[in-house]
């Protein structure tokens, strides 16, 4: 898929996260749409694409975050890398159990890594006095995992269809060339 289309999709999902979450948050908990999107794309199209989407989405979210720029990006990359290592180890790669475990791992690792970065930036004075409280974050991230799980299945279905359509397009665009080589045209 062309890079600019990937960037556009990630950009709009990031915008949806910034604007939509105030309408769909429950007691202050909302899904991490960019994390879910990067995970799904990692499962559907491969590790490389998942990391690129995590990086791009992280850059967009960092623009709006009160935390030091790069904290969300690094957390997303870390979460996607760790989850892709776990994906397929407990069950077949695209099975319900595998997606469940991957989503759980990604949500937890993302928040833990983000908390660690936030604490580090607070210690070295990068955060402008803003700090996180781990006990409250710990409660919130389990609830966020449930929310992420709901969206991951929706995104997975949609992007699986999208990926199949892309593969057919890519295959068809190579067909005339193959036919020429075979001498059938």
């Amino acid at each position: 898929m062309r890079l600019w289309i990937s960037i556009l999709i990630v950009f709009f999902i990031s915008l949806f996260q910034i604007t939509l979450t105030e309408y769909i948050s429950i007691s202050g908990i909302f899904p991490n749409l960019v994390l879910v999107l990067a995970l799904v794309w990692c499962v559907v199209r491969g590790f490389r694409q998942g990391v690129i989407w995590a990086f791009t989405g992280g850059l967009f979210l960092d623009l709006f975050s009160i935390y030091p720029f790069g904290a969300i990006t690094l957390s997303l990359i870390f979460a996607v890398v760790v989850s892709s290592l776990i994906n397929g180890k407990f069950a077949e790669k695209s099975s319900f159990l595998s997606i469940f475990v991957t989503c759980f791992a990604a949500t937890i690792f993302y928040n833990i890594f983000f908390y660690s970065l936030a604490s580090l930036s607070h210690l070295i004075g990068f955060s402008g006095g803003i700090s996180l409280q781990f006990s409250h974050l710990a409660n919130s991230m389990f609830l966020q995992f449930i929310y992420n799980l709901a969206f991951i299945f929706i995104f997975y279905y949609l992007f699986l269809r999208f990926s199949e359509w892309l593969k057919r397009r890519e295959h068809n665009s190579r067909m005339p060339y193959k036919s020429l080589r075979n001498g059938s045209i």
Binding site: T21, F30, I130
Partner: protein, 272 residues
């Protein structure tokens, strides 16, 4: 085997590359060198974000009509009663205001708490869990600076400007746990510090034991810190926790601002 090694190597290279870029950006931000780039990035995104935000707002408003249709009549009655009570209260307050003005003139007291406000739209929320912050659509180019107070209509305190860019600003809400505001109970003048409670409510701490606070008391800004004008409404006391062994008591305060319905706010650009 060779292909597997190549794949692992290329994945490793990709991860290391993006990580290094992100770390560099992190460090640049910490050193204060990244602000112009961030301002530019936000300015580029701004038109699209406004459109997306407006679309979602319209859709949410449309659906909220259906969800609240059953309660409209009751809410209407309640609001009418409240309006009548506020009208009479307003009339009495105007009398006090006039009397206060005359007395000040006679005694030579300087007027204070006249402030300039700039209306702003809320265009997004912080994407992190456990951070209660919003984005507004004005920044340094519109006279918004760091630490300026932000209020909802009628002088209800919402938060303060945490970071101001050229065209945007980030506002930390008073319900965020990193927000600490010096406050006073309007009737008894008991002082304390208002701390946010993870977006759920507010806690008024460090209230001296000998000062009176009770349920239903109104809490306002004290004006002592100089960051906020005096008398901005914060909320009402819900409950008081006191212990004879402690030097200070605490009170749970319910914020007056409706943070879930924040669409338009006002930045206080100057006050005296």
């Amino acid at each position: 085997m060779i292909n597997a090694v190549k794949t692992v190597k290329s994945r490793f290279t990709l991860v290391v590359t993006v990580t290094i870029v992100a770390v560099i950006l992190f460090i640049l931000y910490g050193l204060g060198l990244f602000l112009p780039v961030q301002s530019f990035g936000l300015a580029v995104i701004k038109p699209v974000q406004k459109v997306v935000n407006n679309v979602f707002r319209e859709v949410a408003d449309f659906f909220s009509v259906f969800s609240s249709i059953g309660e409209l009549d009751e809410e209407n009655q309640k609001l009418k009663l409240e309006l009548d009570s506020l009208k009479s209260q307003n009339a009495r307050l105007k009398e006090f205001e006039n009397e206060n003005k005359v007395l000040r003139e006679q005694l030579g007291f300087e007027g204070h708490d006249n402030f300039k406000q700039s209306p702003v739209f809320v265009i997004g929320r912080d994407p992190n869990l456990d951070i209660n912050a919003i984005m507004i659509d004005k920044g340094k180019k519109n006279g918004v600076e760091k630490d300026m107070p932000v209020i909802a209509s009628s002088g209800i305190l919402v938060g303060y400007v945490f970071e101001a860019y050229d065209d945007y600003s980030k506002v930390l809400l008073i319900t965020d746990k990193n927000s600490v505001i010096n406050a006073v109970v309007q009737d008894t003048r008991a002082t304390g510090n208002i701390k946010g409670q993870h977006g759920i409510g507010l806690l008024m701490e460090s209230i001296p034991q000998n000062e009176s606070v009770k349920e239903g008391d109104t809490v306002v800004t004290s004006g002592l810190s100089g960051q906020f004008p005096k008398g901005l409404l914060i909320g009402k006391v819900e409950s008081v926790q006191e212990s004879q062994n402690q030097l200070f008591k605490e009170a749970r305060v319910s914020p007056s601002a409706d943070f879930e319905q924040l669409e338009i706010c006002f930045v206080i650009t100057s006050f005296k």
